[in-house]
Amino acid sequence: MSGDPQHEPRGKNGRAPDVLRVGGWMPMREYPQNEAVDFAIVGTGAGGGTLACRLAEKGFKVIAFDAGAWWRPLEEFASDESHQKKLFWTDERLCDGEDPIKLGNNNSGKAVGGSMVHFAMVSLRFRPEWFKSRSILGYGADWPIDWREMWRYYRIVENALKISGPVTYPWGPKRGRYPYRAHELNAAAMVLARGAEEMGIAWSPTPLSTLSAPRGLAHPCAYRGFCVSGCSTNAKQSTLNVWIPRAVKAGAEIRDLAMVGRVAVNEAGLCTGVDYFREGRWQFQRAKHVVVAGYAIETPRLLLLSANGRFPEGLANSSGLVGKNFMVQSNQAVWGLMDEEIRAYKGPPSLAITEHWNYADKGKDFFGGYAYMSQGPLPVVWTLTQTKRGLWGEALLKEMQHYNHQVGLKMVGETLPQERNCITLADEKDAYGLPIARVTHAYCDNDRRLIEHALDFMGKALDAGGAKDIWRETDDTCHLNGSARMGSDPRTSVVNADGRSWDIPNLWICDGSVFPTVGGVNPSLTIQAIACRTADRIGVLAARGEL
């Protein structure tokens, strides 16, 4: 092991940490600052990390920057909720609006590998119709990409991560079996299954990005349950231990602890590179193309921060939509108690799922859909859930005594794009002297009707599953998307289907911000699929001389 990864960069001197081996290193190519690389990518998460890999594998010269540390999970991830906050984006952000969201441990990561380092591994495909939700389903906005093409890329990503899942998935067009077998259910997942069967709807073991059999140097999941605090066994297949090592092997350079503060643009209106802060000073890297992949808050923030005389409203913003149509997913839950011991802390938190209400359109008084999953909150998250109900003192301690009997169902619900939900710059500055992001959020009536439907249905399903003393957690959100949407019209979108900005042809976006709609499934599989597609498209455009 070497040094403190939060203070001393590791991707340096021609080598990078080999996260699959204790104390291991692997050779890493490095590029000079004054020679323009083909692509400078800002962010190494689900979008940026995957894209860096695929572009490098096509032979492009790539540098990917991340503000966060390059962790070695085997040596540096404790089994501890509080300590592992080190994986989160803890630089300040302001949250306001009628329904201000919670961030920090909830929504965003700051590390090589991005938020997938501590994500819950749920790996789902969009429902095909969602790619045309405006024209087929009557709400939101159409994607400029065809679902069949996306389904090809989903398959590629599922194979790359060796997703474990069922042989047949109950919803949507037929898909092949998942690469690895489904995980065993824990008791919390069995309650979901029981409830779904009683209610007459389908359920499934959740497709998860954690190994159910050995793969190379990585062992299968040990069911330790600390997934959202980072996986210290490397069973979780993520950007950090899959895409990034592949990227480095293919010749990409990753610069950790490198905060990009500005995308530079010349007189001709083209990007020339990025200003980034590393090892105590601002530096400049030249690049022929810049890709912003900082997730749905930092991406618009960086585009706005990069405003200049030529683009006073920020980069790629002729539509005025940078930062707008920011979407979370509703993440409300119902909780109850079982007579049996459940001990939901064992195993990945969401081992069973139903997507029934993503695919059923009858019986809804709202647009959109939702999935719900079984849950396994560890004690700190669980007490925070209880305090949101206003519990403290004896009442809190008494409730916490039921920890091993509690069981819950939690939704991932679609919210509609609204321009008033947005990322803007605040007056307050961060440690780099850059204005911090302000995140403004409110549900619309449709969102509220969807949530009410879900809470009502999940309550009945939990009751049918055998739980008693059921109560509702009414105010949680998850995932961030949409603040720089893709589309087919420059007036109503920021980038095209390839993630290429309409305004600046050598500026691209590749992360959760490009979603026109969010659907009712967790987003990272879709983000990675888009990244793989973008890389292929760039390859095609380059071959045609259209880059």
Binding site: E75, A78, S79, D80, E81, S82, F88, W89, T90, D91, E92, R93, L94, C95, D96, P100, K102, L103, G104, N105, S108, E184, N186, A187, M190, C221, A222, Y223, R224, G225, F226, S232, T233, M338, E340, E341, I342, R343, Y345, K346, G347, L378, P379, V380, W382, T383, L384, T387, G390, W392, G393, E394, L396, L397, K398, M400, Q401, Y403, N404, V439
Partner: protein, 216 residues
């Protein structure tokens, strides 16, 4: 103070410290947490007294075991200025919120009882906190900070979150604690691995106590 008898008598997650359920990074982190000082680094003596009293109300700890050094944990966090990565636009930053909040708590208490918060009766303390929780406080001492927001978004999450990050609190609720590399094997209803806490079923407390002493 709480008089609950534990549902998991005799269970001590720290007995697993040298088993395959704990790895080296975890041992280090928990050791540091157990060594949390019980005097302040960041707060002054007056603020500290108010914080200790506040913590005792929010989490009335069982009297039959050592106490989790809650005020010390909050003070360490303030000392490190470790924010959450976001805050409600209507609340000031972490340190400022706590500084204003603790002073205002004393002011509110003096206004009612002529004594600082730490010196009034527990019943009066709890009553005052209920007023804060329900948005019924409004003295100038809050300097424009919303007391109700302070209560729901700083006091409760900060104190309760710190409490349940401590092994003593894990014992109370029968949480398995750190679990790498051993993890778990028995996932079904009512099944426990031999390294998990035994729940005392009514009338079987002695048996649970005996078994829990062997859990490691």
């Amino acid at each position: 103070m709480s008089m609950h008898t534990s549902r998991y008598p005799g269970y001590d997650v720290l007995r697993k410290r040298d088993t395959p359920s704990w790895d080296e990074p975890t041992r280090k982190v928990i050791k540091e947490r157990l060594a949390t000082p019980s005097d302040p680094r960041f707060l002054d003596a007056v603020q500290w007294r108010a914080l200790e009293a506040l913590c005792a109300c929010i989490v009335p700890q069982p009297i039959d075991r050592p106490r989790v050094p809650l005020a010390g944990m909050i003070d360490m966090r303030l000392h490190a200025n470790a924010g959450d990565g976001f805050r409600y636009a209507r609340l000031p930053p972490l340190r400022e919120a706590w500084r204003i909040g603790l002073a205002a708590l004393d002011e509110e208490s003096k206004g009612r009882h002529e004594l600082p918060f730490a010196s009034i009766e527990p019943a009066a303390q709890n009553a005052l906190l209920k007023h804060m929780q329900h948005g019924e406080l409004a003295s100038g001492a809050w300097q424009g900070m919303d007391p109700q927001l302070f209560f729901t978004h700083r006091v409760l999450p900060d104190i309760c979150g710190a409490y349940y990050s401590h092994p003593l609190a894990w014992n109370d609720i029968g949480f398995g604690g750190p679990a790498n590399p051993r993890g778990y094997v028995r996932m079904y209803y009512d099944r426990r691995d031999p390294w998990e806490a035994v729940e005392a079923k009514p009338g079987k407390e002695r048996q649970a106590l005996k078994e829990n002493r062997r859990v490691r």
